[in-house]
């Protein structure tokens, strides 16, 4: 099983240059995070939902993401409605003023709109392509290589961890809340870490064998087309529209 699966879309989204998807996704997410007006946020959420549908993002994983974010946000709602006692009495009171209702609505709309934007535009990029796209956006080379290297070995180590877990289960281990379980799971984690260091040493040795002296190389993979410009323009118009709706 691979951990790093992107949201697979078989639509124009998948064909759009990853650099364009990444920049427009980041720009829209940041814009949505900064918007205040509930109408603008609703419009943003609706536009991003439309993009997910039009881009044929598979619904099951998208639904799980949205559910997960909303569980976190909804857990927060009661506390947003909780007011410290002002006046007599020591206990805080639950209240619902117009201002509070506005905050709740804002938090929910914002959270959902951003998640939809990132799902459609960024999570559809394969992790490797994302690393390359980042290098085009002037992210420091070292960070790009750290990212790509990590992506390369997450699955390898995940499989090693799965083997360890199967070996534990095969000998009848079942995790329960007990110090023994904590110790054994701690050892499993320690083994994963020790094996990653061993793996790193072998990888570095293999790199030295091919003449590695501290320099990395990337090849170019992207070719922007006219449709990418159209897509970028469309996303920019959405952003402009949202700013216009949200103008003070």
């Amino acid at each position: 099983m691979t951990l790093l699966r992107p949201l697979v879309s078989r639509s124009f989204l998948a064909r759009t240059d990853p650099r364009v998807r990444l920049t427009s996704g980041l720009a829209l997410a940041i814009l949505l995070a900064c918007l205040h007006d509930p109408r603008a946020l609703s419009a943003g959420a609706a536009a991003m939902a439309l993009l997910c549908v039009a881009g044929r993002i598979p619904l099951a994983p998208l639904g799980r993401r949205i559910l997960r974010v909303n569980l976190v946000l909804l857990a927060l709602v009661p506390f947003l409605l909780l007011n410290p006692a002002d006046g007599p009495g020591l206990l805080p009171r639950w209240t619902l003023s117009a201002g509070q209702a506005g905050i709740v609505a804002r938090v929910l709309l914002k959270g959902n709109a951003i998640v939809l934007a990132i799902s459609a535009l960024i999570s559809t990029i394969e992790a490797t392509a994302l690393g390359h796209a980042l290098s085009h956006l002037r992210v420091p080379t070292k960070l790009v290589h750290l990212f790509l290297f990590t992506v390369r070995y997450v699955d390898v180590l995940h499989l090693e961890h799965e083997r360890l877990r199967r070996a534990l289960r095969a000998r009848g281990f079942r995790p329960r809340p007990s110090p023994r379980t904590w110790r054994i799971l701690g050892q499993t984690a320690a083994l994963v870490l020790a094996r990653s260091v061993d793996r790193a040493d072998r990888v570095l040795a293999a790199m030295r064998c091919r003449g590695f002296q501290g320099r990395f190389f990337l090849l170019d993979h992207f070719q922007a087309r006219r449709s990418d410009a159209v897509f970028a323009l469309a996303m920019a118009s959405v952003a402009a529209l949202l700013i216009w709706i949200g103008r003070p």
Partner: protein, 218 residues
């Protein structure tokens, strides 16, 4: 007779734990030699290959490669650029995001120009029947494909010596046959470590056996 590529004389090596793996091992590899190296588990076959490219340093004996004594880490950089070592585990060898980048890594380190690197990548992949693999993501390949790509990463550097550690390990018959064919056509001298006696009989002309820290004919 032309000058030997590698001369190992009375090499000794022990791991940090104190386990002595090599104890007076000697070996000469000349141009065109095709050597099969066998030995029991833990006999030191992998260690010997790693010593030859300086991944371990011997605690006694003399190591000459390409006509020069090689002792310290900087001495081995040139050795590594001319020697292709195939590791046992392809996940140790393939670290790049895409196949193309991994194959290009060694040639770049040789200091070749971008055009020459691109040509080397294309030619090598074509030769190995991996045309069109440049953009493939390394960690999504099957084990057999990974092994062939590993071989491509070292062949792209145009090595004069190949050191192959269990090259057929975990390969299905189809991939093993392809690998054997590619190796048969390649001019480099080689040492192949393998447990597969039939494969060694077909692809090497001289058999050596590592036991008790020494290399013997057989």
């Amino acid at each position: 007779m032309s000058a030997p590529l590698f001369v190992l004389n009375d090499i000794g090596f022990a791991y940090g734990s104190g386990r002595r793996v090599l104890d007076g091992a000697s070996l000469t590899l000349g141009p065109g030699d095709r050597v099969g190296l066998t030995g029991g588990n833990g006999a030191g076959k992998t260690t010997l290959l790693h010593l030859m490219v300086g991944l371990h340093k011997p605690d006694r004996g003399r190591l000459r490669a390409f006509g020069q004594d090689r002792v310290r880490e900087p001495d081995f950089h040139a050795v590594r650029l001319r020697t292709g070592l195939l590791f046992q585990d392809p996940d140790d060898q393939l670290f790049s995001a895409t196949v193309g980048e991994d194959v290009a890594f060694g040639p770049f380190n040789r200091g070749w120009s971008r055009d020459r690197v691109a040509a080397a990548v294309r030619d090598t992949l074509d030769r190995l029947g991996l045309s069109g693999y440049e953009g493939r993501v390394t960690h999504h390949l099957s084990h057999g494909e990974k092994r062939l790509v590993c071989l491509a990463t070292i062949l792209a550097m145009a090595p004069e010596v190949l050191l192959l550690d269990e090259p057929t390990d975990g390969l299905d018959a189809d991939h093993a046959a392809r690998l054997e064919m590619i190796l048969a056509d390649h001019p480099a001298a080689r040492i192949i470590v393998s447990h597969d006696a039939d494969f060694l009989a077909r692809s090497t002309t001289r058999r050596l056996r590592l036991a008790h820290g020494r290399v013997r004919e057989g």
